[in-house]
C-alpha cells in the first residue's frame, strides 16, 4: 500500500453561536492506515466526536469547517453499479484521492456509507425506530446501487448472521427496539459493513452497552480490522484503546496533546493530561495505587486559557511558559507531545 488510507491535516471546526465562535477542533492531524485502528481519546467536550463527524461533514448547521484537509484514498469504480472492490490491479492505479472536506455534496454522498462507514454510540438512537432492520439495511445497499432488492435482502441477512445474530432470517423483519442492546449494536455494525467500506469511524461504540457486551462488540470490530479495514475509534475509555487500537491520539480542548503507539502511551504517557487520564482510569490503573482524578473540569471552549489549555489543571504547570502556545513536538522515538516540559525531559 502506498501511503495512508486517510490523512487528516490541520482540521479546524468552529461552532457559531450568535457572535461567539467556539473553536471545537483546532488543528487536528492524524493518519489512518488500512487494517489498523486509531483511537481518538479525550473527555467529553475535547472535540473528538466533532473531529469524527467533520470527516463526513455530518455536523449541525451551526458548525463550520474552517480549515483542513482529509485526504481519503478511494478505489476507482467503473460506475455506480460496480460491485467488486477488492479486485486486481496495482494499488496506485486502482485508487484515487479525494479531500472529504472539499468534496461537492453530491460526491460526498457517494463516499458516505460506501467508502467510509460509521458506527454510532447508541444503536437505539441511530436506527430508525419505525422501520424494520430489513428496510434499514437494504436501503444502504440500494442507495449506492450495489445490488438489486432481492440480493440486498440476501446480503443483509447474511451480514446479520456474520455478526452473530441468531436467526437472521427472522430478526431482519423486526424493529430495532425488539432486539437486545448488544444485538442492536451488532446489527448497526453489520449495517455499516454491508458496503465493505475501507474506513470505519466508530463513535464510542461500546459506551452505551453493558460491560458484558462491550467485549463482544470489540471482538467484532477486531474482526473488521483484521479484514483490512482502517478504523477510527472515538472513545473516552483507555481500556478500549488498549484492547483494540494500534495508535492513540489524545485530545484536549480541541487540540491533539499527544500522539503515540498505544503501548508506548500506556506505558509512558508524556503529556501531563495523558498521565492524568491514565491515572484516573479504573481499569488500567495500578490496583495498589489510589485513583487520581484530574482536578478541575474541562475548560469552556468560549473562554480558553491562553497557551496550553490544560495548564490551569496541570500539576506541573510553570507560568508564564505554559501560557504560550506549544505545537506538537516529535520525540526521538517518533511519538509526539504538546508539552514543553515533556519535550525537555525526554
Amino acid at each position: 500500500m502506498t501511503g495512508p488510507l486517510l490523512s487528516v491535516r490541520d482540521l479546524r471546526t468552529h461552532f457559531v453561536r450568535g457572535k461567539e465562535t467556539l473553536r471545537a477542533v483546532q488543528g487536528v492531524s492524524f493518519d489512518v492506515e488500512p487494517g489498523r485502528a486509531l483511537a481518538i481519546v479525550g473527555e467529553s467536550g475535547s472535540g473528538k466526536t466533532v473531529t469524527a463527524r467533520s470527516l463526513l461533514r455530518l455536523l449541525p448547521r451551526t458548525a463550520r469547517i474552517a480549515n483542513g484537509q482529509a485526504i481519503l484514498r478511494v478505489p476507482k469504480r467503473a460506475g455506480a453499479s460496480g460491485g467488486h472492490r477488492r479486485g486486481s490491479g496495482s494499488a496506485s492505479d486502482a485508487h484515487r484521492e479525494v479531500d472529504l472536506l472539499a468534496l461537492p455534496e453530491r460526491e460526498l454522498r457517494r463516499v458516505r456509507g460506501r467508502e467510509v462507514g460509521m458506527v454510532f454510540q447508541n444503536a437505539m438512537e441511530a436506527m430508525n425506530p419505525t422501520l424494520t432492520l430489513e428496510r434499514q439495511l437494504t436501503e444502504h445497499l440500494l442507495w449506492h446501487g450495489i445490488c438489486g432488492k432481492t440480493e440486498a435482502r440476501e446480503r443483509a441477512v447474511r451480514a446479520l448472521g456474520d455478526v452473530g445474530i441468531p436467526e437472521p432470517e427472522r430478526r431482519i423483519r423486526t424493529y430495532p427496539f425488539q432486539l437486545s442492546g448488544g444485538m442492536r449494536q451488532r446489527a448497526m455494525i453489520a449495517m455499516a459493513m454491508l458496503t465493505e467500506p475501507a474506513l470505519l469511524i466508530a463513535d464510542e461504540p461500546t459506551t452505551a452497552v453493558d460491560v458484558t457486551v462491550q467485549r463482544q462488540i470489540l471482538d467484532l470490530l477486531v474482526e473488521v480490522k483484521n479484514r483490512g479495514t482502517g478504523i477510527v475509534m472515538i472513545t473516552h475509555d483507555l481500556g478500549v484503546a488498549r484492547y483494540f487500537c494500534d495508535d492513540v491520539v489524545v485530545m484536549y480542548a480541541g487540540r491533539v496533546v499527544e500522539r503515540a503507539p498505544t503501548t508506548a502511551l500506556l506505558d509512558e504517557p508524556q503529556h501531563p493530561y495523558s498521565v492524568g487520564l491514565l491515572g484516573s482510569s479504573v481499569e488500567l490503573g495500578d490496583r495498589a495505587r489510589p485513583l487520581l482524578p484530574i482536578p478541575g473540569s474541562p475548560p469552556d471552549l468560549a473562554r480558553l486559557p491562553s497557551g496550553c489549555a490544560f495548564h490551569p489543571r496541570c500539576g506541573r504547570a510553570e507560568l508564564p511558559r505554559c501560557q504560550t502556545d506549544q505545537d506538537l513536538v516529535t520525540l526521538t522515538d517518533g511519538r509526539e507531545t504538546a508539552c514543553w516540559k515533556a519535550v525537555a525531559d525526554a
Binding site: 456509507g113 460509521m118 422501520l131 424493529y175 427496539f177
Partner: protein, 365 residues
C-alpha cells in the same frame, strides 16, 4: 396483537359506553336546571313574532304520545335513553314532524363533508409550510412563514369567512354567499374552516420535524449515504408525522360535530346549526340526541387515533399487545413513562408524550 389487543379494545369500548351514560345524565340534568322550557321559550318568541303559536299544540301532542302526560323527569330520561339505545331519539320539539335521528342523518353528512375537506386542505397547506420552515430553521423564510402562520392562527374563522365573502361574492361575483347546492357553496366555508387549523398544524409539523431532524437516526441515514430528499421524507418526515395523528383526529371530530358560526354565516344546514338551536330552545330530544352523537363521534375518533398510532409506531403496537416491554438498555426516551402497571398506559401515555413537542424548549430559543 392477539388477545391482548382484543382485551384492550374491549376495555376501551366499555369505557366509551360508561362515558356516554355519564354524558347523557349530565346533559339531561343541566337541561332540567336551565331556566325555562321549550313551551315557555316558544311562547315568548311567538309573542314577539306572532307566528308559530300553533306549533305548541303539536309539540305537546308529540311529547305526550311518546312520554305520556305528567311523567316525572327521571322517567323521561329513562324513556329517552331506552329509545336512544336503538338509535331512536323520538321527534324533535321544534321540528315535530322529524325524528331527531332523521335530522342527524341529513345534517351530519353535510358537516362531515365540510370537516373532512377542511382538514385535508389544512394538511395540504400545513405540511409543506411546516417542513420547509423546519428545514430552513431561523432563516428569513422560516420567520416569514411563521409570521403568516401566527396571523392565520390569530384570525377568527368568522372574520376570514367575512373577508372571503367580501372578496369572492361582493367584489369578484364568483361565488354565491350562502346555500347548499353544490361545490360552489363548499369553497368559502372550507377555506374559512381550514385557515385556523392549517396554522396550528403547520406550527406543529415544524416543531415535530425540527425535533426529528435532530435525531441520531437521521444523521445515521445521511452517514449511510442517503440522498437528502429520501432521508428527509423516509426517516425524518415519516416519523414526525406520527404525533400529528393525535392532533388531526380530535380536530376532525370537532369540525365534524358542526361549526355553528360558519354554518350560520353561509346558511349551511349542518349539525352545528341544529345543535345551537336545540340548546337555545330547550329542545330536549334534539339536544340530547346531538350531544350523545357528538360524544360518540369524539370517542370513536379518539379510539381510532390510538389504533392508527399503534399501526404507525411499532413500539406502541408492541406495548398494546403483550404488555409493556422494556426497550433494552435504550435511551431514556423509551424507558420513560412506562412503568407497566396498566396495560393501556403504553398507548395513552406515549400519546401524551408525543403531544408535548410543539411547545418544547427549542422553539423558544
Amino acid at each position: 396483537m392477539g388477545t391482548g389487543f382484543l382485551g384492550y379494545l374491549a376495555r376501551r369500548v366499555g369505557r366509551v359506553v360508561l362515558s356516554l351514560v355519564a354524558v347523557s345524565l349530565i346533559t339531561f340534568t343541566l337541561l332540567q336546571l336551565a331556566p325555562g322550557n321549550f313551551a315557555d321559550i316558544q311562547r315568548i318568541s311567538s309573542g314577539a313574532t306572532t307566528i308559530g303559536s300553533a306549533g305548541t299544540e303539536d309539540v305537546v301532542n308529540a311529547f305526550e304520545s311518546r312520554y305520556g302526560a305528567d311523567v316525572p323527569q327521571w322517567k323521561q330520561y329513562l324513556i329517552f335513553m331506552k329509545g336512544a339505545v336503538t338509535w331512536d331519539f323520538g321527534p324533535s320539539y321544534k321540528y315535530p314532524t322529524l325524528d331527531v335521528q332523521e335530522i342527524i342523518a341529513t345534517a351530519f353528512p353535510i358537516s362531515a363533508t365540510l370537516a373532512l375537506l377542511s382538514v385535508i386542505l389544512a394538511l395540504l397547506i400545513a405540511l409543506p409550510i411546516g417542513v420547509f420552515a423546519a428545514l430552513r430553521q431561523n432563516s428569513p423564510a422560516d420567520h416569514g412563514m411563521m409570521f403568516l402562520v401566527t396571523l392565520g392562527h390569530a384570525l377568527p374563522g368568522f372574520l376570514s369567512a367575512a373577508f372571503l365573502v367580501l372578496l369572492f361574492t361582493a367584489t369578484l361575483h364568483l361565488l354565491p354567499s350562502s346555500g347548499w347546492q353544490g361545490p360552489q357553496n363548499l369553497l368559502m366555508p372550507v377555506l374559512a374552516l381550514a385557515i385556523g387549523p392549517a396554522a396550528v398544524l403547520a406550527r406543529y409539523v415544524r416543531s415535530s420535524m425540527l425535533e426529528t431532524l435532530r435525531e441520531e437516526y437521521v444523521t445515521a441515514a445521511f452517514a449511510k449515504g442517503g440522498p437528502r430528499r429520501t432521508v428527509i421524507i423516509r426517516h425524518a418526515l415519516r416519523n414526525s408525522l406520527i404525533p400529528l395523528v393525535t392532533v388531526v383526529g380530535p380536530l376532525l371530530a370537532s369540525l365534524m360535530t358542526g361549526t355553528v358560526f360558519i354554518e350560520a354565516l353561509f346558511r349551511i344546514p349542518g349539525l352545528g346549526l341544529y345543535f345551537a338551536t336545540a340548546a337555545a330552545s330547550r329542545d330536549m330530544p334534539l339536544l340530547m340526541g346531538s350531544t350523545l352523537f357528538f360524544a360518540v363521534i369524539l370517542m370513536v375518533t379518539n379510539l381510532l387515533v390510538d389504533l392508527v398510532y399503534g399501526v404507525l409506531d411499532p413500539r406502541i403496537r408492541a406495548d398494546g399487545g403483550g404488555g409493556p416491554r422494556r426497550a433494552g438498555t435504550g435511551s431514556g426516551k423509551d424507558s420513560a413513562g412506562r412503568n407497566g402497571k396498566d396495560k393501556d398506559r403504553g398507548w395513552v401515555r406515549s400519546r401524551r408524550r408525543k403531544l408535548s413537542p410543539p411547545i418544547s424548549a427549542q422553539e423558544v430559543q
